[in-house]
Point group: C2
Chain length 304, copies 2
DNA sequence: TCCATCCATAAGGACACCTTGGGGAGTCGG
DNA sequence: CCGACTCCCCAAGGTGTCCTTATGGATGGA
C-alpha cells in the first residue's frame, strides 16, 4: 500500500534533487528520507530513484508516481482545507427544527448572531414538534431540535410521546412562564394575579395538542375541567379570539411579547405554570463546531 | 495530516454503515476501525460520524471527506496499478544506446525476444560510442549502453576516455574474435591462419577511431606500423574496399557474419585479437524490471 | 425478558519510525 | 594534487503507533 506521506517525500526529493535538501524542507533528518524512499521502493516493487553521481533522477516508475502524486496530494490538501473550514467555522450548515411559533424571537436572534460571527455558516429552519422533531434528529434530518416540556420528566427517560432517550443531549435555554390572557373588559383584567380556579367557568382557548393536554392537567389539579372552545397553534389567533371576548387562555410569556396583545390583558396565574425550552441534539453532533456554536448562540439569545 | 488509509476505512464505514461490517470487509478487528476513526476525527478536528442508535451516519465534514476520498483513493489505485504494470513488465520503456554497427544481430534478436515475452514494453535504440554513450547513461538519456573494449582494463577503473567508473554495472555479453579480411585473390586468402606481422607491408583499412587505435597498438607490438589508407565505421564499406583489393582489414567476427563478404576471405590472425562486448547500466537501473529483462535478453541473444 | 449485535475501552505486544553516530565516496576550491 | 565539504548509506537505540485480545455497556429484535 502506497502511502500519501511517501508520495509527499518522493515529490520533494524529485523537486529538490537530493535527500538532504528534501529532509531540510520537510523538517526531518536525511536518514528518515532515505528510509521512506526505501520503503516506498519496496512497496512499489521497483526502483524509483537513480543515484547517478550527485544528482538524483527519477525512473519511469518514479515519474509515474510523481505524476499521480500531484493529483493525490492536491485532493488530500483540498480535503484538509474543507474540513478545516468546517472545523474553523468558516463553513458549515446547521439544520434547525423548532416547535411552531416557538422560534419567533429566540431563533432569529441566534441566527443573526451566528451569521454575524461566522459569515460562512448557514442555518436552515423547519418547524416541527416532538416527537416528529426528535425523529428528524434521530434520522439525521437536522442537527438541532428546539423543544419544550411542561413536566419535569428526567431527560434520561423515555416519556410517552417525548424525546427523552438518554442518548439525546438537552441544552436548557430558558424557563418560560405562562401568563393568562383575558379580554380587557374582563373582571380580572386589572388583577395582578388570579388563581386558575377562578377561571373555571370561563370558555378556554387552547394551543397545540400538548399545550392543551397540559392545560387540562393543570385545571384538573385545580379541581375543574376546562371547557375548551377553540384550539389553535397560532398565537396571534389566540390573541384575536381572546380580544374578541370569546374566552381566556394561558400562553407563553415569550409568545405574548412577540404578539401585540390587542384588546387583551396579561395576568399572572397561580399556581405558576411554566414550560422549559431546550435545544436537543445528539452527543456527537454537539461536538461539531457549527452545531456547538449555534447552541451557544441559542443560549445567549435566551439570556437576552 | 489525514492519511489515505483513514479515508479508506471511513469510506468503508460509510458504505457498510457500521464499524463491525467495515472491519470484516477490511480484514481487521472492530477496535482497529474504531481507533482509526477516532484518530481521523482527531486529525480533522471535528466529528465525522454520528452514532445514532444502531446506524452510523456521516456529519457534514464526514461527507466532505468521503467525497474527496473517492478521487484520492482512485488516484492512489491508479498509481499503484501503473507502478504494478511497470514492475510486472506489462509496461515500461528501455532506451538502448549501442555502438555503431554493433547492434546488427545482438540488438534485433534481444528486442524481438523482449517484445515477444513482454508485449507491453518498448525498446528504443540510438547509436553512440563511449564515452558519449556513458555520458548519456549518466545523464539519464538511456538505461542501457552497449559498448566494447579491447584491453582488459578493470571495470572499476576510470579509463582515459572510457566508461569505467565503478558505479557502473557491466554485464559481459560476449567476447568477439576479430578476423582478418583479405581479397580473395590475396596470397593468404586460403590460409587458415596468418601472423599479423606478415601483413606488415599491406595497406590497411581501419574501423572506428578506437578500433584504429587498437589496430595500431597490436601491429606495433608485432613490430611494424600499419599503413592505413582508409578508415570507416561502415562495415559493408570495409568489405567493399577489401574486395576491391585496396587493402586488408581486421574486423569483428560478428560484423563479418552480418555482412556478405563478397570477394573477400576471412582468415584467423595471430596473435589472437578480440574485443569484449558488454552492456553497461547504472546499479539502480539494473534493478528496474524492464531493464533487467532487457539485459537478460541481450545476454541470451549473445549466447546464440 | 432474553439474546444477539454493536461500539467503547484497557492492556499487552509487535512493529514502524525517527534520531544519533559513524563511514565511504564524490565534488569543488586552493 | 590535496584538503574540505557535501551527500548518501548503514547500524543501533529509543519512542511512539498500531493492532490484537478481552471486557463491559447499550441497543434492538424475538
Amino acid at each position: 500500500m502506497i502511502e500519501a506521506r511517501h508520495l509527499r517525500v518522493l515529490r520533494t526529493v524529485a523537486t529538490t534533487g537530493s535527500f538532504s535538501a528534501a529532509a531540510r524542507e520537510l523538517g526531518c533528518t536525511q536518514p528518515a528520507v532515505s528510509q521512506q524512499m526505501k520503503a516506498l521502493e519496496a512497496a512499489a516493487g521497483t526502483p524509483l530513484l537513480v543515484r547517478a553521481g550527485r544528482e538524483m533522477r527519477l525512473t519511469e516508475a518514479g515519474e509515474a508516481l510523481v505524476r499521480h502524486a500531484a493529483g493525490i496530494l492536491a485532493g488530500l490538501t483540498a480535503a484538509e482545507e474543507e474540513v478545516a473550514a468546517l472545523a474553523g467555522l468558516r463553513a458549515g450548515r446547521v439544520r434547525l427544527v423548532s416547535f411552531p411559533s416557538g422560534s419567533s424571537t429566540l431563533v432569529p436572534t441566534a441566527v443573526a448572531a451566528m451569521r454575524a460571527d461566522h459569515p460562512g455558516t448557514r442555518v436552515s429552519l423547519v418547524e416541527a414538534e416532538p416527537p416528529r422533531s426528535v425523529d428528524m434528529l434521530r434520522a439525521g434530518d437536522c442537527e438541532i431540535a428546539l423543544a419544550f416540556r411542561y413536566d419535569a420528566t428526567p431527560w434520561g427517560y423515555h416519556t410517552g410521546g417525548g424525546w427523552g432517550r438518554d442518548e439525546l443531549v438537552a441544552r436548557p435555554l430558558l424557563t418560560d412562564r405562562l401568563v393568562g390572557l383575558v379580554p380587557e373588559e374582563h373582571p380580572f383584567a386589572d388583577a395582578d394575579e388570579v388563581d386558575i380556579g377562578t377561571l373555571a367557568e370561563e370558555p378556554w382557548i387552547a394551543g397545540c395538542p400538548r399545550c392543551r393536554r397540559h392545560l387540562v392537567e393543570v385545571c384538573e389539579a385545580a379541581g375543574f375541567t376546562p371547557r375548551i372552545d377553540f384550539a389553535t397553534d397560532d398565537y396571534p389567533a389566540v390573541v384575536g379570539l381572546v380580544g374578541a371576548g370569546l374566552g381566556v387562555a394561558v400562553l407563553p410569556e415569550l409568545a405574548v411579547e412577540s404578539v401585540r396583545p390587542k384588546g387583551t390583558r396579561a395576568v399572572r396565574v397561580t399556581p405558576a405554570v411554566q414550560r422549559e425550552v431546550v435545544a436537543l441534539t445528539l452527543p456527537d453532533l454537539a461536538q461539531v463546531p457549527a452545531v456547538a456554536a449555534m447552541l451557544d448562540r441559542l443560549e445567549t439569545a435566551a439570556r437576552r
